[in-house]
C-alpha cells in the first residue's frame, strides 16, 4: 500500500525500550527545519517507578480539594500507598503585611484568611488586640460578639456541609445549606453592610451596633434553622450511601489526634473532649448553657455527626444570647482607641483631633505580646501579636487550625482508596486561605 503524505520517517536516538524492555514513549518535537526530533524528557517529571505503583497529582485546581490544595498520591491500583500534600498555592503574605498596618487596619485582613468564618476571625483578632491594649469591653459588646461567633460557626459548617455533600455525591443539601447562608448574609448585611468579608469588630468594640429589626430576623432564623438541619439530617445521616462512604475512614486515635495538634471537630470526633469555649473560655462562654459533642471512633462519619450537632448547639447559644443582650454602649469609652461619632468629629475640635490621631497614627498598645485562641469552626484559631509600643505590630502570627489539621492527612489517607481521599479531605474542613495565609 502506498504511504500517505502523513507518514514521517524518524530515526530515534534511543532504542525505544526502557530498562525492563517495555516500549517507552519518547517525546517528539518539530524543529525549525520541519524535522522531527526527539526531545529529552525534562528532568524530574518522570520518576522511574518499579511499575507497580502509579503517581497521580490531585490539584491544585480540582473541584474536590476545597481550594488550591495539591495532593501527590502514589496509588497501588486504587489504594493510596503514599500521600504528599503541597500547599502554598494561596500564600498571600498576610503576616508580612500585618507588620505594615495599624491594628484596626488589620481587621479586614482577618476576614480574608478564613473567609468562611469572617465574623469569628474578626472577634478573635479583636480579643487578642484588646488583651494587648489592656482594654475590657462592654457587656453588650461581649454578647454581640458571641452572636457573631455563633452565626459564623453556623455559616462555616453550612459550607462544609454543602461541599462535603457534593464531594460524596449529594447535590441538594448544598442548595439547602446555601439558602440558609443567604438568610445569615441578610442579617450580616443589615448589621455591618457586607455579606461575606464583614470586618465586624474594632479594637475596643464593634464596627456598628445592631440595627432595629435585627433581633426579629435573628429569632426567626433561630426558629427556622433547626428544621432545615433536621431535614438534611433525614436525608443523609442514615443514608446507606453516606454511611458506606464515611464510616471507618480516616480514623485518628485520641492520642494521635492530640499529638498531631488537631483541634476543633477533628479532635472531638476522635474522642477528646476539648473545646476552647469550655476549657479556656473567653467572652463569658462559661455562662452559656450548651453541650459539646464528642465522637467515639474518629472517622469521617463521626466528624460529620459532631458538626451537625454543633449546628444545633450554636442555635441554642444564639437563642440564649439574644435573650440576655443587655442595653448600653457597644464600644468602650476610650478616645484613644475608639473613633468619635462622625457628627462630633466634624464639629467638636477635641473629637476632630482624636479622630485625626487615630486615623493617621493609630492606637498604640504598650510593649508586650498576647496570644488569644478561640474555638473557630475549624479548631483552635489563635492570633499572636507582639507589640513594641508602636501602632503597627512587630509580629502578627495567625495560628491556623486547618494548617495543623491538614498536616495529618498523610496519616489519615494512606491505606484507603482514591475516592476515600476525597471524603477524608472534605471531613477535615480546610480553608486554603487560612492554611496558606
Amino acid at each position: 500500500m502506498a504511504t500517505t503524505k502523513r507518514t514521517v520517517e524518524v530515526e530515534l536516538s534511543t532504542s525505544g525500550l526502557d530498562a525492563q524492555g517495555r516500549p517507552q514513549r519518547v517525546p517528539l518535537a518539530v524543529d525549525e527545519g520541519g524535522n522531527v526530533v526527539t526531545m529529552e524528557a525534562p528532568p524530574g517529571i518522570e520518576p522511574d517507578l518499579s511499575g507497580e505503583h502509579m503517581l497521580i497529582n490531585l490539584g491544585p485546581q480540582h473541584p474536590a480539594t476545597h481550594g488550591v490544595l495539591r495532593l501527590v498520591l502514589e496509588l497501588d491500583g486504587e489504594t493510596v500507598v503514599r500521600c504528599i500534600p503541597h500547599v502554598g498555592y494561596l500564600h498571600c503574605g498576610f503576616e508580612k503585611i500585618g507588620e505594615y498596618r495599624q491594628y484596626n487596619q488589620i481587621i479586614p485582613w482577618t476576614d480574608r484568611e478564613d473567609y468562611l468564618n469572617s465574623p469569628g476571625n474578626n472577634v478573635a483578632f479583636a480579643l487578642g488586640a484588646e488583651r494587648l491594649f489592656g482594654i475590657e469591653i462592654t457587656e453588650r459588646c461581649k454578647v454581640l460578639r458571641v452572636i457573631a461567633c455563633e452565626l459564623s460557626r453556623i455559616i462555616s459548617h453550612l459550607v462544609w456541609l454543602g461541599t462535603t455533600c457534593i464531594d460524596i455525591g449529594a447535590f441538594t443539601p448544598f442548595l439547602w445549606a446555601f439558602q440558609q447562608r443567604e438568610e445569615v448574609y441578610e442579617m450580616l448585611e443589615m448589621w455591618i453592610g457586607a455579606r461575606l468579608t464583614t470586618s465586624l469588630t474594632r479594637v475596643g468594640g464593634m464596627g456598628a451596633d445592631i440595627p432595629d429589626g435585627f433581633l426579629e430576623k435573628l429569632s426567626a432564623f433561630v426558629r427556622g434553622f433547626p428544621k432545615v438541619v433536621d431535614e438534611i439530617d433525614r436525608v443523609i445521616t442514615r443514608n446507606g450511601i453516606w454511611v458506606g462512604r464515611t464510616v471507618g475512614l480516616g480514623v485518628m486515635s485520641p492520642e494521635e489526634a492530640v499529638n498531631y495538634g488537631l483541634s476543633g471537630p477533628m479532635v472531638r470526633a476522635s474522642g477528646v473532649a476539648y473545646d476552647l469555649r469550655k476549657d479556656f473560655p473567653y467572652l463569658d462562654y462559661e455562662t452559656y448553657d450548651f453541650e459539646v459533642p464528642v465522637g467515639t471512633n474518629g472517622d469521617v462519619y463521626d466528624r460529620f455527626l459532631v458538626r451537625m450537632e454543633e449546628l444545633r448547639q450554636s442555635t441554642r447559644i444564639l437563642d440564649q444570647a439574644m435573650k440576655r443582650l443587655p442595653d448600653g454602649p457597644v464600644n468602650v469609652d476610650d478616645h484613644r482607641v475608639i473613633l468619635p461619632p462622625k457628627s462630633k468629629a466634624t464639629s467638636d475640635m477635641e473629637s476632630m483631633i482624636h479622630h485625626f490621631k487615630q486615623v493617621m497614627e493609630g492606637p498604640r498598645p504598650p510593649i508586650g505580646e498576647s496570644y488569644v485562641a478561640v474555638e473557630s469552626p475549624k479548631g483552635e484559631k489563635g492570633y499572636y501579636m507582639v507589640s513594641d509600643g508602636s501602632s503597627k505590630p512587630v509580629r502578627w502570627r495567625i495560628r491556623p487550625p486547618s494548617f495543623v489539621n491538614l498536616s495529618a492527612i498523610p496519616r489519615m489517607v494512606e491505606g484507603h482508596l482514591l475516592s476515600d481521599v476525597i471524603a477524608i479531605n472534605a471531613s477535615i474542613d480546610i480553608v486554603m486561605g487560612e492554611i496558606d495565609r
Binding site: 463569658d284 505580646e369 489563635g382
Partner: protein
C-alpha cells in the same frame, strides 16, 4: 487513653482530667495586669529541674513566657511533655519573632498546652544576631511540629536540626528572593513585579516533586507491616 467502661460505654478523654472533680470550672480571664501576674505553676518545677537553662520568666497580660537556652530546647520540651505532673501534650504553635530593632535577638516561640491540667505556656529561645539560625526540632515529641517548623524555615530561614523533611512549604522550592518574614526583606519583594512573574512562570508546576516522591517506590519497604500485608494480599479498606 480512650477508656471503655465495663458496661461497654465509651469514656472520652476529657481536658482537665488531671485536675480532679473539685477543681473550679474555668472562667473567662478578666482585668489581667500588664506585668507581674500569677505565673504558670509549671515555672517553679522547670526552675528546679533545669536551673540556669531557664534564663528568664515573664508574665505579660496573664500569659507566662519562659525563656530558655536554645541548646536545651529539646530537653525542656521533652520534659514538659513527659513529666506526669506537667503533661504538656498539645503543641499549639511554633513561630518566630524578629524585631525591627537590630539589637534585639530573634525569638523562637513554642506555644504549649496541657490538656489534662488546662494550662498554657509559652517557651522562647533567643538567638542572637549573627549566631547560626538553628534549633533542635520537636518533631519527635509532637507530630504536629512537622509543618509548623517547615513554615518557620520557609519564612525565616531557621533550620530545625533533626527535622525529617525540612523544605519550603508556602513558597515554591526554587524561590530565590529569600525568607519573606525577615525584617530586611521588603514588603513587595526584592525583584520587580515583572521579574517575579517571569520567575514564577518559569517554574514548571509539575516538576516540583520532592526527593520523597521520586523515591516513592523504595518507600514500600518503610510502610508498616500490616499495610504492606494488606496491599500485597489485595485486601481493601473503607468499603
Amino acid at each position: 487513653m480512650t477508656e471503655v467502661n465495663n458496661d461497654g460505654s465509651f469514656a472520652p478523654v476529657v481536658a482537665g482530667s488531671a485536675l480532679g472533680v473539685d477543681a473550679p470550672a474555668p472562667v473567662t480571664p478578666k482585668n489581667l495586669p500588664h506585668r507581674g501576674g500569677e505565673p504558670n505553676p509549671s515555672v517553679d518545677a522547670m526552675r528546679r529541674q533545669f536551673g540556669a537553662a531557664v534564663r528568664r520568666v515573664d508574665v505579660v497580660w496573664g500569659e507566662t513566657t519562659v525563656v530558655i537556652d536554645p541548646a536545651r530546647v529539646h530537653d525542656v520540651i521533652r520534659w514538659l511533655h513527659d513529666n506526669p505532673l506537667e503533661r504538656y501534650d498539645y503543641l499549639s504553635d511554633i513561630t518566630a519573632v524578629e524585631f525591627r530593632d537590630l539589637e534585639q535577638p530573634l525569638e523562637l516561640v513554642w506555644h504549649l498546652r496541657s490538656l489534662p491540667y488546662r494550662r498554657f505556656l509559652r517557651v522562647k529561645a533567643l538567638i542572637a544576631r549573627g549566631a547560626p539560625l538553628e534549633v533542635p526540632t520537636v518533631w519527635d515529641i509532637y507530630k504536629g511540629a512537622d509543618w509548623l517548623e517547615r513554615e518557620c524555615y520557609d519564612m525565616f530561614g531557621i533550620r530545625f536540626i533533626g527535622h525529617p523533611d525540612l523544605r519550603r512549604l508556602l513558597m515554591w522550592e526554587q524561590y530565590a528572593e529569600g525568607f519573606p518574614l525577615r525584617k530586611d526583606f521588603p514588603l513587595r519583594g526584592r525583584f520587580s513585579r515583572s521579574e517575579q512573574l517571569r520567575q514564577a512562570l518559569a517554574a514548571n508546576p509539575e516538576a516540583r516533586y520532592s526527593k520523597d516522591e521520586l523515591s516513592i517506590a523504595e518507600a514500600f519497604e518503610d510502610l508498616p507491616a500490616d499495610m504492606r500485608r494488606r496491599l500485597t494480599t489485595g485486601e481493601r479498606t473503607g468499603e
